[in-house]
Point group: C2
Chain length 332, copies 2
Amino acid sequence: MEKNQKIVLASRPAAWVEESNFRLEESAIPEPGPNQVLVRNHWLSLDPYMRGRMSDVKSYATPVQIGEVMVGGTAGEVVKSNHPKFAAGDKVVGPLGWQLYGVADGAALQKVDASVIPLSAWLGPVGMPGVTAWVGLLDICAPKPGETVVVTAASGAVGSVVGQLAKIHGARAVGIAGGADKCRYVVDELGFDACIDYKAGNLRGDLKEATPKGIDCVFENVGGEIFDTLLGRMNPFSRIAVCGLISQYNSAPYPMQNIGSVLINRIKMQGFIVSDDLTRWPPALKEIAGHVAAGRIKYRESVANGLANAPAAFISLLKGGNFGKQLVKLSE
Amino acid sequence: MEKNQKIVLASRPAAWVEESNFRLEESAIPEPGPNQVLVRNHWLSLDPYMRGRMSDVKSYATPVQIGEVMVGGTAGEVVKSNHPKFAAGDKVVGPLGWQLYGVADGAALQKVDASVIPLSAWLGPVGMPGVTAWVGLLDICAPKPGETVVVTAASGAVGSVVGQLAKIHGARAVGIAGGADKCRYVVDELGFDACIDYKAGNLRGDLKEATPKGIDCVFENVGGEIFDTLLGRMNPFSRIAVCGLISQYNSAPYPMQNIGSVLINRIKMQGFIVSDDLTRWPPALKEIAGHVAAGRIKYRESVANGLANAPAAFISLLKGGNFGKQLVKLSE
């Protein structure tokens, strides 16, 4: 009889996440209760926010408990449904976590059309990362045509959509990424106006060259020294959408020096979590799906094969080892 | 023949301002040109922003040049007018700087009624500091009834109005000030709910006790360690109006550790300068003048006597030595 496989939180990380913080377990395939749906997951999304859930500290979401399945967005196919809106064979996206099979209430699942846009993309540009990009860029930064938008982690799932949306809306898009390969991709494939390789060791000078008119919008995914350097290049009345601070999740906080720029330049800086306002999802997904289907928004995936490889892929993601949206393929 | 006296910028400060950075000069009393008005200043306002104008660095305003009269807000009486809207004897507020006499275009002056509210108060609660408090508190922080507002430099010209306005609008007002005397005044005279003496050495613990439900709004005048500590107490969806960072004006930037709170708590942090949007002044002054005339907003003045004492009073202000709005009395 086929079993379910799942990865649970074995222990909390002290600083950097290690593979020993996870444990692969087998269990029976669960039965859906009333109004519930059993899903076979084909894709697991790996995202930086998961690092926060591994720690037992006050944050915007409750932590995963030791022994519980790791949280995560998934895309898969309905196996058995006790919910009137779903039938076996439907393709769905939901929060089923790091496991092959999962059960959810119908209300937690979203039926998707995988005929034009592939199933995996519903975890990327037309999923949570894409909506995150749309909300931070258009609701918080709100760039005007001709303004300069800088986005960190520019080749990633969120950053790549931020820059392409910025271009579509008439702004100048400048990416920051780690390594020449990623920067080439950001400019040549995604169409950003410029990209700065922060590993090249000349961040401040390269930033000045790439932003001759200063910076009007920052979409911040990374934090730390890069964020501090960007603060020093902001224009009056500029905006900063704080989406992530991935460089800070595993280490002592970087001591920021340039907060004075917030006052001098009357900057609006705002932190946000895409799940805070679910009313923004439908308009965001509608716009992005149009751009993806028409090829105006491109995306790239970094795929790990098999659930057992999820921990290593996640650790790599936290260190910038992914190149594009990090996924785990859960089916052959 | 009577002469004008003025204080000019003699040299730029290296770090802390010193009296040798200023020079008292005499000159002829100027003649007003077409549409200009000659004013005898009775009161000079001393404000932290003047520190920025003494340095030759990129900021929101052009610096004072060496040998030029120091900038500053003044309240006085028209001596001679070539402008149809002003006549000798009118009481006016304007930007005439650190001097006994000044000439300005009529458009730069505001006629005030000193019969109900004393002339000096038009440089304080019903002047630039009051409008600053109103804009930062009501436009940026926008506290809801029952929310907790924390304001730094709480006994000062801006902070005292912030807390009293917060109370009037139904919020809990917590001040931070330097010294037991100032804190007593903030609570007993101004009616704040609590005040923390940051010099008492228990900022974090005292803050926790004074804000049992966390912080929803910060009105920040000080920066540095106090600001960083406040960031650690912010509630989800809280707001920070960054009005000043006085602790940072004379020293190396304090390395901020708690910027992560902006993301975790989805904080909106916004820097502002009260002169950016002049359309906010009339509604602000109208509301505050009503509260001051009715005794709902109280204020306190720290008065230095005579122009020659302005440099020492300004240096004291930068170190928190003032107690209430710092003024210089320019007439006997």
